[in-house]
C-alpha cells in the first residue's frame, strides 16, 4: 500500500527512508463502499486522498444535472483541492464509484510535515504546480479541441476508465451529451483493427 505512494512521490522528489516514514506516520487509511460521499459541497474539505484501490469522482450540481470535473483511479490524488488549500467551503462533492480505499492526510498534518521537512515542502510545491498545470492543460484543450477530438484524446489516454466508469459519467466529464458519447464510441469500434 505504502509502496504505491512511495513510487508516486518519487516522481517528484527523492525522500530518504526517514522522511518517507515521517510522511507515512501522518496518513490515515480510509475505506468506503461504492457510491458513498466523502466530501460534501458547502463543507470544508479536510483531506487530500491518494487512491490505493477503487475509483472516485468529483462533481457539482447545475440545475438538475451533475457536472463531473474529475475522476481518479488507483495511484492518483483526489480532493476538493481549492477548499483543502483555502479552508473555504467546497463547491464540489466527491463520491466513490467502486469500493475504494484511500491513504489520506489532513491539512493540519500536512502543515506539520511542511514545517519539519524541507523535502516534503518541496513535494507540496511540485504537486501543487502539477495541479495548476493539469487544470491549465484541461482548460486549454477544452477550447482547442472539438467534441470528437476530445473524445478520441480521452479514450487513447484513459482506456482503463472507458471500461470501468459508467458512460454517462464519462460524457459529463468530457462535457458532451451521453448520446454523443455513445455515437462516438460506436464509430471507434468500426475502425479497422490495426489502424491507429
Amino acid at each position: 500500500m505504502l509502496e504505491m505512494l512511495r513510487q508516486y512521490v518519487s516522481g517528484y522528489v527523492a525522500l530518504s527512508d526517514q522522511e518517507f516514514s515521517f510522511l507515512a506516520d501522518m496518513l490515515v487509511i480510509r475505506s468506503f463502499d461504492k457510491r458513498q460521499q466523502l466530501t460534501q459541497a458547502g463543507e470544508v474539505e479536510n483531506y487530500m486522498n491518494f487512491v490505493i484501490k477503487g475509483l472516485a469522482r468529483m462533481y457539482f450540481h447545475r440545475g438538475n444535472t451533475e457536472v463531473i470535473t474529475n475522476i481518479a483511479k488507483e495511484g492518483e490524488l483526489i480532493s476538493s483541492s481549492a477548499s483543502f488549500l483555502s479552508g473555504n467551503p467546497s463547491s464540489f462533492y466527491i463520491e466513490t464509484l467502486e469500493p475504494t480505499t484511500f491513504l489520506s492526510i489532513t491539512r493540519q498534518h500536512l502543515d506539520k510535515l511542511y514545517r519539519e521537512s524541507p523535502a516534503i515542502e518541496r513535494l507540496g510545491r511540485l504537486l501543487t504546480t502539477h495541479f495548476v498545470l493539469q487544470k491549465e492543460e484541461w482548460e486549454l484543450s477544452c477550447m482547442r479541441l472539438d467534441t470528437r477530438e476530445r473524445f478520441l484524446h480521452f479514450v487513447e489516454t484513459n482506456p482503463e476508465l472507458v471500461q470501468r466508469v459508467p458512460q454517462k459519467y464519462l460524457a459529463s466529464y468530457l462535457n458532451m451529451k451521453p448520446e454523443t458519447f455513445s455515437r462516438l464510441k460506436h464509430l471507434l469500434r468500426k475502425r479497422p483493427s490495426g489502424r491507429k
Binding site: R122, T128, V132, E139
Partner: protein
C-alpha cells in the same frame, strides 16, 4: 529619470509587500531574491511570448496591463487579463519546456519583474523560505484558477458579467471590451447589451 526611479522604487516596495503576505521576507532576503530578477520593459501591443516559442520567464506585472490568449483557426480566446501585481506567463511551456500554445501580449506599455526557470530553481535550492513562498503562491494561483473554472461552468452569462464588473470596475476602463467578453466567454454583442442594461441603474 528621477521620476522613473521613484516609480521603480514604489513597484519594488509593492512587490516586497505582496510577497511578504505569503512569507515575511527581511530586506536582506528580498535583496537576495532581487539579484535573480530581471526588469523587462515592453511597449503596448507587443507579443512577449509567441505561439511555438518556449517560455523562459515567470513575470509579475510591475505596471501595465497584459493579456494571455489562445490563437485558434478563426479566433482568439482570452484566458487571462493581468494588471499590476499579477503573475502572467505561458506556464505549461515554462514548466514542461515545450513550445507555447498560448500568446502573451501587452495591452498597455508594461514593465515586468521577471525570473527565468533556472534562476527560480537556484532560489529554491538556496533559500528554504522561497520554497515555502513558491508553494503558497502556487496554492493561491490554484484556488483562483479553480474559482474561475467553476464560475465558467456553473454561472450564467449574466451572473458572470455582473460579478466581473463589480469586482473589476477599473478593468472596464482599461481593457478593450472584446477582450473582456472573450475572457468571460460572452459574445461581444451580448456583452454590449448587458452593459447598456446596467446604465439606467447608475446615479
Amino acid at each position: 529619470m528621477t521620476n522613473k526611479g521613484a516609480t521603480y522604487k514604489a513597484a519594488l516596495d509593492e512587490l516586497h509587500h505582496q510577497l511578504s503576505r505569503f512569507v515575511p521576507l527581511t530586506k536582506a532576503e528580498f535583496g537576495q531574491l532581487l539579484t535573480h530578477v530581471e526588469i523587462r520593459e515592453f511597449e503596448k501591443k507587443v507579443k512577449v511570448i509567441r505561439e511555438g516559442e518556449v517560455e523562459r520567464y515567470l513575470n509579475i506585472v510591475a505596471w501595465g496591463l497584459v493579456r494571455k490568449y489562445l490563437p485558434l483557426r478563426n479566433k482568439e480566446i482570452t484566458v487571462q487579463l493581468a494588471p499590476e501585481g499579477h503573475i502572467i506567463h505561458s506556464e505549461l511551456s515554462f514548466y514542461y519546456r515545450t513550445p507555447s500554445r498560448a500568446v502573451v501580449e501587452t495591452i498597455e506599455p508594461t514593465v515586468f519583474f521577471s525570473i527565468t526557470y533556472e534562476s527560480l530553481e537556484q532560489l529554491y535550492d538556496q533559500m528554504p523560505k522561497i520554497e515555502r513562498l513558491g508553494r503558497l503562491m502556487i496554492s493561491d494561483l490554484f484556488i483562483k484558477k479553480d474559482d474561475r473554472y467553476f464560475d465558467q461552468l456553473k454561472k450564467t452569462t449574466r451572473e458572470r458579467f455582473l460579478e466581473y464588473i463589480h469586482t473589476h470596475p477599473q478593468m472596464l476602463q482599461r481593457v478593450p471590451q472584446k477582450y473582456i467578453a472573450s475572457y468571460l466567454n460572452i459574445k461581444p454583442e451580448t456583452f454590449s447589451r448587458l452593459k447598456h442594461l446596467m446604465r439606467p441603474k447608475r446615479g
